[in-house]
Symmetry: C2
Subunit: 138 residues, 2 copies
């Protein structure tokens, strides 16, 4: 794990620091999505709020994580698959948000279906979020 974390950071030309390692570790452990707030809570007093913001921002730019749109006001982040290159996300799986426990789960096996758009629209990215009850909450 330790080694994996280092490798991801190195591969993206990021210096290996405490906060980056810790936050990346959180993502690797939870195989779902995390909100900024979750991360702040889980890192506890260890890092400044600002550092968390900046780390997430950096990870986003490098394509290590991607943001997931939700219909309430929260923004979620999740690890990208390996084929996410800098700036270009090919993160085309469906995300599931449980309306009971609030967890977000990446349905890695469910691909986002492509839809036909009206003439004139040039699509770059498709995102799909399903809300409902997860396995554990039914």
């Amino acid at each position: 794990m330790e080694a994996q974390i280092d490798e991801i950071l190195r591969k993206n030309q990021l210096s290996v620091t405490g906060s980056r390692k810790r936050i990346l570790e959180l993502f690797l452990m939870s195989n779902g999505a995390l909100a900024h707030g979750d991360i702040e809570k889980k890192t506890g007093e260890k890092f400044d709020r600002v550092t968390v913001y900046r780390t997430l921002q950096t990870f986003l730019e490098k394509g290590i994580i991607h943001s997931i749109p939700t219909s309430d006001n929260s923004v979620l982040y999740a690890l990208c698959k390996d084929d996410c290159s800098e700036g270009h996300h090919h993160d085309n799986h469906v995300h599931f948000i449980c309306s009971d426990c609030g967890k977000t789960i990446c349905l890695a096996d469910v691909t986002v279906p492509q839809v036909k758009l009206p003439v004139g629209f040039l699509p770059q990215e498709y995102q799909m979020v399903v809300t409902g009850l997860c396995k554990d909450c039914r």
Copy 2:
């Protein structure tokens, strides 16, 4: 228009007040989505910030408007079609966000395709957001 606004409010058992009329009018005029900030700007000094929040909240609950997921931190609202009943949104069209001009457009003719979920998941709502370039920005 005036009559239409009154009817919508009455149909939802809401008392007809200045702010509700004005905000509903804004939605009817702009046939796209509006952010809270947009509404605040357009209503100018006329209504309190809190009133705008509460009005949007009420409209959401009544199913007059729905919220649209975006990948940045903003929340957008748009009018529901007539078949949105209280609490239950059947707002199953795709939303398009232009990465250049930032506008969000409801693609009312493009329905969200249903996907097969892994066993155990109980879906309640499907949402799909396409990012890209709109007609005007290509």
